[in-house]
Amino acid sequence: MPPVDKRDLLPGTLDMMVLKTLTVQPMHGYGIAQHIQRHSREVLRVEEGSLYPALQRMRQKGWIKAEWQQTPNNQRARYYTLTPAGQKHLGLQETSFADLLTAIARVMQSA
């Protein structure tokens, strides 16, 4: 299966996946991209051009926090952490996304 282009993603799903990823642990942008890529079994390849603007947007909305830290390899990287507000938003997103998937599945099975 070819990698999915970001335009084909449902609106808001990138945010949701980033937030979900950050529930595991604080990560830097590269780590987030890798995580999503790996866990989607290489289907979703997060284009960095959309990842960083999304991270800035979510930071301004107060869902995530950014902090410069040392990586295990002693490099400086900006790590993102989920905030309580982000946690709450993720919960809402997950529910509505599940509803949406169910709805789509029903349509797809009806014919």
Partner: protein, 895 residues
């Protein structure tokens, strides 16, 4: 909202964010390169591969950067920078504008703070203030309309019972009483309030509780008290006081609670230190009127506040309240024969503003204050006119620059934005200066107007700061619009081609109008100042009929202790003889009342006159023999009292000149017979005529007053010793108090006040009016003069070419001076004419505020005109002198 704030914060640190994003992307790229190497791509290709994968680096950064860019803010920042750069280039101009505006805004901020507190700002903790009213009663008495907010407790019961427009009613009475016991007792402000009073507020007691309806019941409430927070802190150190006793006036109360911090009830100055039930206060009165306060209409004292029910309109509530008052009026009339019927008295009850200054019967102080506020606004207007003029002048100078920028494609909107930004930046800087001025001057003002001793911090008062900011923005917009509107589009080519020679005749109508406007407003303010000065000197020169300055008044307070009449008389005599022994006392006398403090009336009957009362109000007082020497009241004919006018001797009286004239217009008053109290009493013979003396009201038209010897008329009523001091009375007050205090029995105590203080209170509004009008009038004059000077000076500079040509053609320095000064004076004269007309027009409203002073006084108008001409001359003669220095050589060579 939160996101907006975050964006705003990001905007301020956008440079750092840019840097961080770059670092972050670099890190990302390094990771990708590492991955590529691990995947076996040749090192040479790694970088390009990584970059490919990262997408368009620039685009990523642009897109992220959009998150912290706010375009209009960028524009604003540019404009502000541009404005600041311009101001740094001409610091003198900037400083002038900032200080001028600062003075104008400062004056307004200071006045706003006071007016707001006096009229608009709701009382602390008051719930839904828009629906809470103070009740005012209005009726006609002897052809005069009387408006009052003080009435009887019984009336309060009537109005509460017979209305249904209000959900809450409360009675309250603020007075001064001795609080505490023994040597620690002091006269403090106390509040007698109904239990329902606290229901008007969203206030929870800081400790204990407020009183219950059962504790505030007729005939006499429970002896409970609620302390104010500051009193609790200062007197008890904030310790547990619930259950402790406290003496409030004549009542020994138990403390049941402490009001929260900042709670001041509805008092406008000097908030009570302790609250106790109004029925406790009234029910503990020793006199009969007091004891039956809830049954009869004899004692009008307390005030009432109500809360309108939701959905009840104000007119409906007024009608309802008026009907109840009319019914109550008839009920009162049934018990009192002297009252006029309702169709003559026209009783009206008004649910008015809770703040008396905003109510239907504002004090002279409050009315004067409103005028002064108008004056402050005028000062700001003058300042704005001034600055607009300066901007216009500068716009003319920058004509070419603007034309060039327009030619280069800068839109008019952008120019307007820049001009507005510049004027607003200046106005905001002026606002800063103004707030400092207002803080500094406001403290002094508050001490005058609000009798407020607490330090006031304007910087913490959001309403006043808001008002100052609003004034600054308005001034900024007002002054910034004119230059852009003035610049006409379309004549770009002409402007670009023209040189210094051009523009000499193009005098701007707007600028001339502004100069005239400044002069006009200055004239109006100065006329006001002049009138108030004259009024004040009238007050000062006004013969009261006595000399208050050297006199001290010593009163004793028995704190509602039962004292027999004979003990009272004995104590009074001991006080008098002790007072006469105090060093520095010239004379001393016992009195039953003191002018400007209290007055008494009783029945007065004169043979041959049907009803003496119809002629006006006759007040009287009793006094011991030295009284006239103490007060300095002159005996015009006959003799004053002497030691021989004793009880049982022939009854004698001294009458005022006015009284003698009205009662015995055709015959000599001396030897005439008056009967005091009842027409069956024996004759009291008039033995002397004293000069007229003011009793309670400086503005009173009639001064019908008579004096009886203390020994012959109820000597137990002597309530004060008046002492005439050699030299200054004020500093001697405490010595007198210490000398007399040892005579007091039990808890009783002596209070000593200079008589001047009593009268000072009445003179206050005139003193204030004069002080404020002088301050603001002077300010206006300075600002207007500076404005005229600046504009004339600027003109001269602009016209140096023309003036140079004139000199080259043989004009003498004197001609040039005349030419320039003549122009300056023309504006001044037009301003004087317009301003005088305006002041004449307004005279009818200002006259009631003045003391025996016509508001069309030609001396004031003439003086102001002369002053303005002088200032106009001065302001234009300096630039005129500079005009003579114009260099004809340069003028002829340029262009």
């Amino acid at each position: 909202m939160r996101e907006l704030l975050a964006r705003l914060r990001d905007w301020f640190r956008r440079d750092r964010l840019d840097r961080e994003l770059r670092d972050e992307l670099a890190f990302h790229q390094r990771q990708l390169e590492r991955d590529a190497v691990a995947a076996g791509v040749a090192p040479a290709g790694t970088e390009s591969a990584a970059r490919r994968q990262l997408g368009n680096l620039t685009q990523v950064r642009e897109e992220a950067r959009d998150r912290w860019s706010i375009p209009w803010l960028d524009h604003l920042q540019q404009d502000v920078r541009y404005a600041l750069r311009g101001l740094r280039r001409s610091p003198g101009f900037a400083l002038g504008v900032i200080i001028t505006l600062g003075l104008g805004i400062g004056a307004n901020a200071a006045m706003f703070g006071i007016i707001d507190q006096l009229m608009f700002r709701p009382h602390a903790f008051l719930r839904d203030p828009g629906k809470v009213h103070r009740v005012y009663l209005r009726y006609t008495f002897q052809d005069r309309t009387i408006t009052t907010s003080n009435f009887e407790y019984k009336r309060y019961l009537d109005l509460s019972q017979w209305t249904n427009s209000f959900s809450d009613h409360a009675a309250f009475f603020l007075e001064t009483a001795a609080v505490g016991s023994g040597a620690a007792s002091r006269e403090r402000s106390v509040g007698a309030v109904s239990a329902s009073f606290f229901d008007f507020f969203d206030a929870r007691p800081a400790a204990g509780r407020f009183f219950l309806p059962t504790e505030d019941a007729t005939p006499r409430g429970a002896d409970v008290a609620v302390l104010s927070y500051p009193f609790w802190q200062s007197e008890y150190g904030g310790q547990d006081v619930i259950g402790q006793p406290i003496q409030v006036g004549g009542v020994r109360c138990t403390i049941i609670g402490v009001a929260p911090k900042g709670f001041a009830g509805v008092s406008e100055d000097d908030p009570p230190v302790v609250y106790f039930p109004i029925t406790t206060f009234a029910g503990s009165r020793p006199d009969e009127d007091g004891r039956e306060y809830f049954l009869n209409y004899n004692w009008g004292w307390m005030e009432m506040m109500v809360r309108r029910k939701p959905g009840t309109s104000l007119p409906a509530a007024t009608t309802d309240l008026t009907n109840a008052f009319a019914r109550s009026w008839n009920a009162a009339r049934a018990t009192q024969s002297g009252m006029a019927p309702a169709d003559v008295a026209h009783p009206v009850a008004i649910p008015g503003a809770l703040k008396t200054a905003a109510g239907p019967d504002p004090s002279l102080d409050a009315r004067t204050l409103l005028w002064v506020t108008g004056v402050a606004v005028a000062v700001l207007l003058i300042a704005c006119a001034n600055i607009t003029n300066l901007f216009l002048a500068r716009a003319l100078r920058r004509r070419k620059e603007v034309a060039l920028r327009t030619a280069l494609g800068v839109s008019r909107g952008r120019l307007l934005a820049q001009s507005l930004t510049e004027s607003t930046v200046l106005a905001l800087l002026g606002c800063g200066v103004g707030v400092v001025i207002a803080q500094w001057g406001g403290v002094a003002l508050r001490r005058l107007f609000l009798a407020e001793s607490a330090t006031f911090l304007l910087f913490r008062d959001a309403r006043t700061l808001g008002a100052a900011l609003a004034a600054a923005l308005a001034a900024g917009i007002l002054t910034g619009l004119a230059p852009v509107l003035q610049a006409r589009p379309g004549d770009l080519a002409t402007t670009l081609k023209s040189g210094a020679r051009d523009g000499t005749h193009r005098r701007s109508r707007t600028r001339e109008a502004l100069l005239v406007l400044q002069a006009t407003l200055s004239v109006v303010l100065l006329v006001g100042a002049g009138l108030f000065i004259r009024s004040l000197s009238n007050v000062r020169d006004f013969r009261l009929g006595f000399d208050p300055e050297p006199v001290l008044i010593a009163t004793r307070n028995f704190r509602d202790m039962e004292v027999s009449d004979s003990d009272r008389v004995r104590l009074a005599r001991r006080m008098l003889s002790e007072a006469q022994r105090i060093p520095g006392v010239e004379h001393a006398a016992l009195v039953s009342s003191v002018p400007f403090w209290s007055s008494s009336t009783t029945g007065l009957f004169v043979t041959g006159i049907d009803s003496v009362q119809r002629l006006g109000q006759f007040t009287f007082q009793t006094a011991s023999p030295d009284f006239f020497k103490v007060l300095g009241t002159r005996i015009l004919r006959g003799r004053p009292f002497s030691e021989t006018d004793i009880a049982g001797g022939p009854r004698v009286a001294v009458v005022s000149e006015g009284m003698a004239r009205v009662l015995w217009p055709k015959q000599d008053a001396i030897g005439a017979c008056i009967r005091v109290r009842a027409d069956t009493m024996p004759c009291t013979t008039v033995i002397g005529i004293a000069e007229d003396a003011v009793q309670t009201d400086l503005l009173a038209q009639t001064k019908f007053h008579y004096y009886l010897p203390l020994e012959q008329y109820r000597p137990e009523r002597a309530f004060a010793v008046m002492l005439r001091m050699r030299g200054d009375a004020g500093p001697a007050a405490d010595g007198v108090r210490r000398a007399l205090q040892p005579l007091m029995p039990g808890e009783a105590y002596v209070t000593v006040r200079p008589m001047g203080d009593l009268i000072g209170e009445q003179r206050r509004s005139w003193r204030l009016g004069a002080a404020m009008f002088i301050a603001f009038g002077g300010l206006a004059l300075v600002v207007a003069a500076v404005g005229l000077y600046a504009v004339m000076g600027y003109d001269v500079t602009q016209r140096s070419h023309e003036l140079g040509v004139r000199i080259a053609l043989g004009a003498q320095p004197r001609d040039l001076i005349q030419f320039v000064v003549g122009q300056g004076l023309r504006f001044t004269l037009v301003g004087i004419a317009l301003g005088s007309a305006l002041a004449l027009f307004g005279s009818r409203w200002i006259e009631p505020l003045l003391f025996q002073q016509s508001a069309t006084d030609p001396i004031v108008f003439g003086g102001v005109a002369l002053l303005l001409v002088a200032v106009g001359f001065l302001a234009s003669s300096i630039p005129a002198r500079r005009a003579t220095e114009a260099d004809p050589n340069r003028a002829l060579r340029t262009d």
